[in-house]
Symmetry: none
Subunit: 201 residues, 4 copies
């Protein structure tokens, strides 16, 4: 019974965050209203303020949760394989999974909406981006140590490029239905990342 209450409470907070996430990804920060969030979450307007001090904090927590989850998931998956090449492969796979699950939120993370959000969000977004890039950077460094990646490119720069490329593909996938061509796309991207566009000598 105690767990019941806990569950319901936690359920309510989760419902609010879920609703907020959905509407945020649909409309962005400003057009999203607390009233609509409450309505979709099936709670009263005031209830939102029992769990979050303000709209800003609610959104911040929503974003943070998604980001943390995503990063955590990536790290976990990453640790299941050995070798930088394999990790790159895994990385690509995760993105699809994540996208299917969290749908258009990826946009908030990817696209940033940095400007539309209050300045408070900027650092949060940048922070996330940075950590994401760091993760990739680690893989690149590992690959360079392993000798499978060329060392003439700065790991950070390479990571940044890969990050951007991935976002673009993600965005593409959100607009187009790549579902059934997922494998083909992944292979081509991987080929690009590994061998570049230049014709083989």
């Amino acid at each position: 019974m105690a767990m019941d209450a806990d569950e319901r409470t936690e359920g309510k907070k989760r419902a609010i965050m879920k609703a907020a996430l959905e509407i945020l990804t649909e409309k962005g920060y400003h057009p999203t209203t607390i009233e609509e969030i409450a309505e979709r979450a099936g709670v009263g307007k005031g209830t939102v303020y029992l769990y979050f001090k303000s709209k800003l904090e609610l959104v911040a927590e929503v974003i943070d949760t998604v980001v943390q989850t995503h990063l955590q998931e990536m790290k976990e998956q990453m640790s299941t394989v050995k070798g930088a090449l394999e990790k790159l492969l895994v990385l690509a796979g995760i993105e699809y999974t994540f996208m299917r699950r969290h749908g258009p939120l990826a946009q908030i993370l990817g696209a940033g909406e940095v400007l539309g959000l209050a300045p408070e969000f900027r650092s949060q977004m940048c922070n996330w981006r940075q950590r994401y890039i760091e993760l990739i950077e680690g893989i690149v460094e590992e690959g360079q140590r392993e000798g499978v990646f060329r060392t003439s490119i700065s790991p950070f720069l390479a990571a940044t490029i890969i990050f951007g490329a991935r976002l673009a593909i993600l965005q593409l996938a959100l607009e187009t239905d790549l579902e059934n061509r997922a494998d083909e796309v992944r292979n081509q991207v991987l080929e690009f990342v590994l061998h570049g566009l230049g014709a083989p000598v």
Copy 2:
């Protein structure tokens, strides 16, 4: 004198768009107010509505103009050189120029802020993105015909990747001061794009 009036009129519209662009890039769509735009443009609030039907239309036109200008500029520069490789190089150079001129607006275009903007903007943004990618796609195709680019990668996918990579580097440049390392960065990016990350055989 007639021209004078015309000029003044045109000047006013341009002043409004210029002011709007500046503030938009500073704050994003929603926090930008018509009042502030009018003030910075040195016109009355009501005057804005003589030239634009609504805030939405004003912003749409502003974005469109910037995008058109940018694309136009890219095409022009592109036509001054021959060969896909050279065009890629030129492309990179333009980005820096553009960035220095239009500063953080690149974010609105690049990062999208798709979500913060009213749904109406989405198609506009996507449209722009698409045309930008098409431009790059053209270069890729040209390179493939020339035999300098590998043909195993879909031109569209390659263009998308390059587009994303460029945006990420752009974003990086906006946050960090790469000014003095611009050449180095450009070279590394180019190397990446041409030969990929894979260690040379």
Copy 3:
């Protein structure tokens, strides 16, 4: 045990009223929230509504209690001395005691805050004021009968004036620290009340 329950119950009601009184004197009616009262009283928010039908009733009862207590106390002290002059002296002394005990609540009573309170309070405040003045009026009448007070002044008017003068001094005491000059002040006030400001003939 039964008494215990009663005591606890009574204790709870008293705790609520005490907390309410404290916060009311700190902030006034509107800024005081039931939640804060409950918290300071160490009870649940809902508990307040077991003892009081509404915020209004709670505050009304709090004020009434303080007023009753104060008046009662005054009457008791008054009855310990004989003679209108002595009673006036005692009256002054009580004020200081009261003030030290109930602190700024005196303001609510004195200053009225009539306007900040719901109209319902007005009559309550006026009622209290009236009874307070009546008490003084009684002393004045007694003094007139005794021949120590001049009869050319209406007892009611005199009482009103004395009431106002006392409030002003009270307010002064609340702002300034008169503690150590209390006797001097009391003497001067008494001199004023008895002989007025006019130079002795």
Copy 4:
């Protein structure tokens, strides 16, 4: 015509302040809503914010204006007569005039509602009270120099007492209809102030 615009504008600000004053004196700070003020002033809700940055500032300005006006008026009238005794008389007269004109606002000033108002108001109210008392203090000092007032009472204390007495009488006048007995009341009050309550020796 220019004046016309000015007049209308000034008229609007004045209408808002007038409406605010009325409702404030009826209900006090918190229960007074901007909407009601706007409605009674015959303007839109938003218009209020063209003239005042916030509810707080509106109220502050309203109070300040009344206070300034009242003090100014008192000083002017005071300067028309010579001698402390005469000035005291004039003072009493003004109060009635003021009251008839500004009606229940006197309550806000007198009663203070110090507690119900935001802390910001407290200093404003105290400040006003202080200046009012200083004015009376000046008269007392003058009277002492002239030899018509006894010197054994501190001018400040005397002024405070007179201030309080006046407020009490004012309050009385607001509740009761003293209109037709105004002269009698004034005389009795004056007698009290000059000769006190003590029986003549």
